[in-house]
């Protein structure tokens, strides 16, 4: 499918507007403003949702281990980035902990005070991703032989095992047991998150459009046929699993960054479900859909629908608007989408497809 110039230009323009918008937000609002928080969190969720989409939507491997890989990334980031001076306070029950260095500080020693910390934080994120990828490789050896719902439940189980493991007291010097990890630095404002996540998603997009991506989709559509066409099933499944986990790990690291504290307890299977439902709402197999839905979901939960919980929404006050009502509303909407709009917001279309001229759209759908 060759894209015309017009679509490419409009797509680039939209992305540019988003970027400028993020910079404008950073410049206009204080860093604790809700809009900036929403953009940051939505970016993180976008990345994780896209990574899950790569596995569940493009490769057809129904995995529910995302929270586990995010946990690995989050802990790696936190452990590697807490300033040395603050370690004694964080690891107060474990004699200051095992790790006695901090990547941002090391790099700021080498590269100076402005570039160094950023490089250090990015390195910590990458380390988190690599650890998640390594774990994915190991767990994939036995687990990827399973099919559909068995794979789902095995990966879910794996995530739960990881969570228990990280809360184990014997690992306390590294993971701080079941206590919080905190005091590590944040990368910056909304623009930094948008750029970083944009880059990672661009990498995933390139992958999806490569021969590997096509092989993944062939596996999703028909395993037997794909194998007959000479695609090495085991190899490609493992590859998709590892890459998806790598980005989930990075997403976890960024989530840690955004939240400011990390605790194994919060990486429950409910988190995986939440991300899965975002992917489904956006359209399984659409990266644009995952990103859009992440922003919609986070913006409505954290900001727009707040009123449903606190008593007044759109100027209407009602006693039924009490704590938890917005989640109830959102989950009803999710169920409606799951049951009646199974293609989600975007189906399997991407951003440039939206700007294609009407006639062409019909032609494309006629070919399918």
């Amino acid at each position: 499918m060759k894209k015309t110039n017009r679509e490419t230009i409009i797509t680039a323009a939209v992305l540019l507007v988003v970027l400028i918008g993020a910079f404008a937000l950073d410049a206009a609002l204080p860093s604790y403003h809700i809009a900036i928080k929403v953009v940051k969190k939505a970016c993180v969720y976008s990345l994780v949702a896209v990574s899950m989409n790569l596995l569940n939507g493009f490769t057809g491997l129904f995995s529910l281990g995302q929270a586990g890989f995010m946990l690995l990334g989050a802990y790696s980031y936190a452990v590697l980035c807490i300033p040395v001076a603050k370690r004694a306070g964080v690891y107060q029950y474990f004699d200051g902990g095992l790790v006695q260095f901090s990547l941002p500080e090391i790099f700021s020693g080498v590269l100076g005070g402005t570039v160094g910390p950023v490089v250090g934080m990015l390195c910590a994120l990458l380390v988190g991703g690599l650890i998640a990828a390594l774990c994915a490789y190991l767990i994939g050896l036995p687990v990827l032989r399973l099919k559909s719902d068995y794979l789902a439940i095995a990966t879910l189980g794996f995530a739960e095992i990881l969570r228990a493991f990280f809360q184990w007291n014997a690992l306390g010097p590294l993971t701080n047991g079941s206590n919080l990890l905190k005091n590590y630095p944040d990368l910056g404002g909304a623009a930094a998150y948008v750029i970083l996540v944009g880059l990672f998603i661009a990498v995933i997009l390139l992958l999806v459009n490569s021969t590997y991506g096509r092989a993944f989709m062939a596996i999703r559509d028909d395993e037997v046929a794909a194998e007959a066409m000479g695609i090495n099933l085991a190899h490609h499944k493992r590859l998709a699993f590892i890459i998806s986990s790598f980005f989930a790990g990075i997403g976890g690291g960024m989530l840690a960054m955004y939240m400011g504290t990390v605790q194994a307890l919060s990486f429950k299977s409910a988190m995986t479900y939440e991300i899965l439902l975002i992917v489904v709402m956006g359209g399984i197999g659409s990266i644009t859909g995952s990103v859009l839905t992440s922003f919609l979901y986070i913006a409505s939960l954290e900001w727009l629908l707040r009123g449903l919980d606190s008593g007044t929404f759109l100027g209407i006050s009602s006693p039924i608007f009490k704590n938890g009502f917005r989640m109830a509303i959102v989950s009803v909407i999710i169920m409606v989408v799951v049951l009646f709009f199974r293609k989600g917001i975007m189906g399997d279309r991407e951003l440039p497809d939206l700007f294609r001229k009407k006639a062409k759209k019909e032609e494309v759908s006629g070919n399918e």
Binding site: V143, I153, L156, S269, G324, S331, R342
Partner: protein, 292 residues
Amino acid sequence: MQGLLPYLINGVSVGGQYALIAIGYTLVYGILRLINFAHGDVFMVAGLIMVYSSATMPIYLSIPLVLVLTVILGFTIERAAYKPLRTAPRMSVMISAIGVSYLIQNLAFYFTGGLPQPVTNPIPWISDNVTLFGESTKRVTLVTPFLTVALVFALVYLINNTKIGMGMRAVSKDFETAQLMGIRINSVISMTFVIGSFLAAVGAMLYFTNYPSVAITSGGMPGLKAFVAAVFGGIGSIPGAVVGAFLIGISEELIKGLGYSTFSDAFTFALLIVVLCVKPTGLFGEKVTDKV
């Protein structure tokens, strides 16, 4: 060994409660090939209904009420969330199940205000303390295994000797052929959910008698563990689910007794992964070959 005895007794009891939930998973999986992720939440809702009803009405009203409401809930979930997707790919149904689970938890959060609801009025007789082998425990611990076994025998009788049971067996063997033979698929499937929810309600009443409160997340863990039990025993097989549940309940409590509480949950999932990799059909499961 003496120190482990109370844990062993507890394990048998917890195993019985898991068994009651596991049957719900295994029946539904046997017929729809669906992991009913919402089943753990149905169990949790049964616990909540018990807390609310036992606080306001006498025991002979509250127990039937819990059973009836839970059964209605299970029935409604099937009709509303799974029936429209009967011809859809299996993954869509599973996503729907996850969505239902999410919905139930959020609704429960809304109605409880997010606070764990204390079990103020546990069911009288079974929550009394008794002494067994010199160890003090609640009577529910002793009652559970017997009640479980009795219910399982009743269920097996139902499946082997009644018309609806025959329908269930036929549908689980071959969905489409059963339909062609004039079996009303929808009523058989509804019946499966009714039985599953009924047993989950019984399980919930026993389970939460031992706990101080019911939280909206209380259903998740027991639900997942019961599912593991069903897989361990061979999903689709009722005796398998029961044996698997007792084994998991006992080993979990023994691990707690040995002082590794953190790993009692992890053990269950490790067991799951090992079973899935070594013998995916479980202890009593039938081998299914995939056709191209």
